[in-house]
Symmetry: C2
Subunit: 221 residues, 2 copies
């Protein structure tokens, strides 16, 4: 009985995700599902990204959190359109929540949508949100063993970000082991090392985003 | 239907937790359920604890991870009895898994049992494992907003540990805001600031553990 119910939930989620995906493609919107542990620096990266994007008006963010509107307030201050989803303790976003959040935006005006998932390396990995790209992030303070211990997310992502590289001199982080594990789990996935403090890697990240947006425009034709 | 199933799961878990709790009390074992985000430093704290405990043979650890035996190997090297539970992607430990793991130990020889939960601030908070104390941990690199954004765990813990204090000079961490939030969510909960690198706070932690063990001996009489 329990398995039946879980399967129904996932099937229903896939239907919503397909609908979200079509709606986004119809509007030529590139959507990213950003997944990491709590405190890896997802919101800080978005703040930096908004400041660097050529036209902030074309950016939108859906913020997923168990509680508070702290992250949405940061995004608003940075200058992008934002909707907060509070899961009230729930451990991941689902596509029907994204579907409803999209109603809050002027979709014709947006070219790039970030969906910042709930801070969690496990549950979000099981739910397609209709995004075009899934981005997994680890910060160097969390340790190089995270991909090995939480493989589902790292197998399924389209881009891997290693954040907080400014802290590398102060922590024990085995970079070759980390890179080796990522390569084993997900051969060919791009790996960007970034720091929102020093700015390291942010040019490559912006370049990756521009290419992603261009590929969506092509796909929607 | 879905809610019914979830309720049944939680009710069944509570029954297993009660059974675990009784079994531990019968053997005068103090069990701690250690919960944090991935990479906050749970295993490193246990390694330091094992090294400092007066009689390592009386320590045991249950390691919860979605995959690998990396953490169990570290605990074994540190010198404590250990059992690894792999949840195969599952996002939290449940009491029936702990019940089975207990069969691997000589319970008469143990006085202190650490249950290191899966790295996740959300799902583990909903499941009683039969522990005597629930310990929540945050590292300073994760940001001071974590208790506000993930309140369920921080409301329900018996001890709060702020880890990686050695990194405070290198990160923006609003300590007064953090302390204020913890106090609002869980008035009176002890807050220990520790660093496994510099050793800060570890004496207080060991002292807290000794008091906890003494209280169990009293409760079981």
């Amino acid at each position: 009985m329990k398995i039946d119910v879980v399967h129904r939930v996932l099937k229903l989620n896939d239907e919503f995700a397909a609908s979200v995906r079509k709606r986004l493609l119809d509007h030529e919107i590139t959507a990213l599902n950003l997944i990491s542990a709590p405190g890896s620096g997802k919101t800080a990266l978005l703040e930096e990204t908004i400041g660097r994007w050529e036209n902030r008006g074309q950016l939108a963010v859906i913020e997923g959190d168990p509680d508070t509107t702290l992250d949405a307030e940061r995004i608003q201050r940075a200058g992008a359109a934002v909707t907060q989803i509070n899961t009230e303790g729930g451990c991941h976003l689902e596509a029907n929540l994204v579907q409803r959040a999209l109603d809050n935006f002027d979709l014709d005006a947006i070219e790039l949508l970030f969906i910042e998932n709930v801070g969690n390396l496990l549950c979000p990995a099981g739910f397609d949100l209709g995004e075009r790209f899934r981005v997994a992030m680890v910060s160097v303070t969390e340790g190089a063993d995270k991909p090995a211990k939480y493989p589902k997310l790292f197998r399924s992502c389209d881009l891997m970000i290693l954040n907080k590289s400014d802290l590398l001199p102060h922590v024990d982080f085995d970079l070759p082991y980390f890179e080796h594990t990522v390569k084993c789990l997900n051969p060919g996935v791009p790996l960007l090392t970034v720091s929102c403090k020093t700015g390291e890697g942010l040019d490559s990240w912006m370049e990756w985003l521009r290419t992603a947006v261009a590929s969506t425009a092509k796909a929607s034709q």
